[in-house]
């Protein structure tokens, strides 16, 4: 127990984190690439067409993992932001900032693939469906977080201020979700459900699972790499940075 604790603290220190992230990120990246290829192969070639939607349902293999990722990353970002705010852990602050663009990208991809999926199934690119709308608001929350981070010049202050925003956002996300669901059922009957087939075939499920893991690995790789660069920039005058960049030059 004591050993584990020591290790956690060890990797919270910027130089150790920098080295570890540098070593881990390529592995996660490679794993993501392999899983994407495997997942897309299963999803696009092995899985049979849906009896109702034909081939268009295959967008699900992009759409659903990105939706999950965008929501989960927001919570993760808020957790890191809270750790940074409460215990003043610099690495956590950097991680929170590094997660935001990836989360926003997933939210955007989810909306885009949802629109492309909506055209053949619902006959329109955009429906004011509860899930679509709350996903759109999630994208706005990500954008607000990044805009606030970018607007404040002092890095420490930027990290703390956006941490407050992330926490305010994460308290609000469930409330927003339920209010939007309620709004939706009030204005129009819940006629559209995203799941078309009541039960999923095993192949489809496997493809979905593999794609989700691929997205995870991609997110970890990119976030670690971005956090690494952010640390370098933040600590550019620290001895450990000069040591490491000096070696390369």
């Amino acid at each position: 127990m004591a050993e584990q604790r020591v290790q956690w603290f060890k990797f919270a220190s910027p130089p150790n984190f920098y080295d570890l992230a540098g070593r881990l990120a390529p592995w996660f990246g490679g794993l993501a690439a392999i899983l994407f290829v495997v997942g897309l192969y299963i999803g696009f070639i092995l899985a049979p067409p849906d009896y109702q939607q034909g081939n268009s349902y295959r967008i699900m293999f992009i759409h659903v993992p990105t939706a999950w990722m965008s929501m989960f990353l927001y919570v993760l970002m808020a957790v890191y932001a809270a750790i940074g705010l409460i215990w003043r852990v610099k690495t956590a602050e950097v991680m929170a900032k590094a997660i935001a663009p990836t989360g926003a990208m997933f939210a955007f991809l989810c909306l885009w693939s949802g629109a492309l999926w909506g055209k053949p199934t619902w006959g329109t690119y955009w429906v004011w469906d509860a899930r679509l709308t709350s996903q759109l608001i999630l994208l706005f929350l990500y954008l607000g977080y990044m805009a606030l981070h970018a607007a404040i010049e002092d890095r420490q202050r930027a990290a703390n201020a956006s941490a407050i925003l992330a926490l305010a956002g994460v308290v609000n996300v469930p409330i927003i979700y339920f209010s939007v669901v309620w709004w939706n059922t009030l204005h129009q009957g819940a006629s559209i459900t995203v799941t078309s087939a009541p039960t999923m075939e095993t192949v489809m499920f496997v493809a979905l699972l593999v794609m989700t893991f691929a997205c995870w690995m991609y997110a970890i790789a990119v976030v670690l790499w971005r956090a690494r660069l952010e640390l370098l920039e933040r600590e550019r005058r620290a001895a450990w940075v000069l040591e490491r960049t000096g070696e390369k030059a």
């Binding site: 706005f140 607000g144 606030l148 703390n160 407050i164 925003l165 305010a168 609000n172 927003i176």
Partner: protein
């Protein structure tokens, strides 16, 4: 305790006096609200049925935008003349002092919106009960707008282009209030009861009252650090 009460009342009175001396600030917000609502019929056409069905949404979105407009000044004047630092240095709990400032802000900008809303509701063709529900919903909702908006105002304190940034930060967080507020009026319009919406709005107000002052105080401390 006595010292705290004195501090809160003093701060409230000071903000109200300042607002009275500069009436145009509050009146501009009210004017904005009226003008925006009055522009909608010109944009969508004079069809009374259409206007009536759009009225709850139009009134609520306009109230949201009017509140946004007033937020930038919530802390910035005090920040510029240094009195915000004095407030931060005071021995009283900052979250309560901030609550006092927000109460003043609501009395100056939120309450007038509630009071003028029946007129605008009639303009858009709402009838008696609907207007009553609209006012109740606004009465419960505008404090939420002030409280949540104050978080954004504190976080953008002293930033260039803070006013535009506030809207990006805060408008997504206004969604629940908008949905419940407009939904309450919609509910009576379609013949059902608005009680569920109003109860949830009140619950949201209580939750916001509990959490927002803490977040605002933390944000102010960060931005004035």
């Amino acid at each position: 305790m006595n010292g705290l009460a004195t501090a809160l009342i003093t701060l409230l009175r000071r903000d109200l006096i300042l607002a009275l001396r500069r009436r145009q600030d509050a009146l501009v917000v009210l004017g904005f609200f009226v003008v925006v609502v009055s522009l909608f019929p010109l944009g969508v056409g004079p069809d009374p049925q259409l206007l009536r069905s759009m009225a709850p949404g139009v009134l609520w979105v306009s109230a949201l935008l009017a509140t946004m407009l007033s937020l930038e000044r919530l802390f910035s004047d005090d920040f510029r003349d240094g009195s915000l630092e004095q407030i931060l240095l005071s021995p009283q709990p900052l979250s309560l002092l901030v609550g006092s400032k927000i109460l003043a802000h609501w009395l100056i900008t939120g309450l007038p919106l509630v009071l003028i809303s029946p007129l605008l509701g009639m303009q858009l063709g709402l009838d008696g009960t609907e207007i009553l529900i609209l006012m109740t919903a606004l009465l419960l909702g505008t404090p939420i707008l002030s409280l949540v908006g104050a978080i954004g105002a504190a976080l953008t304190l002293g930033l260039r282009g803070g006013g535009v940034l506030i809207s990006l930060l805060i408008l997504p967080l206004y969604v629940p209030a908008l949905v419940l507020g407009a939904g309450a009026v919609d509910a009576v319009m379609y013949g059902s009861s608005a009680q569920a919406h109003l109860s949830l709005m009140a619950a949201l107000l209580i939750l916001t009252l509990l959490l927002a002052p803490w977040a605002i105080a933390a944000a102010l401390r960060i931005m004035l650090d």
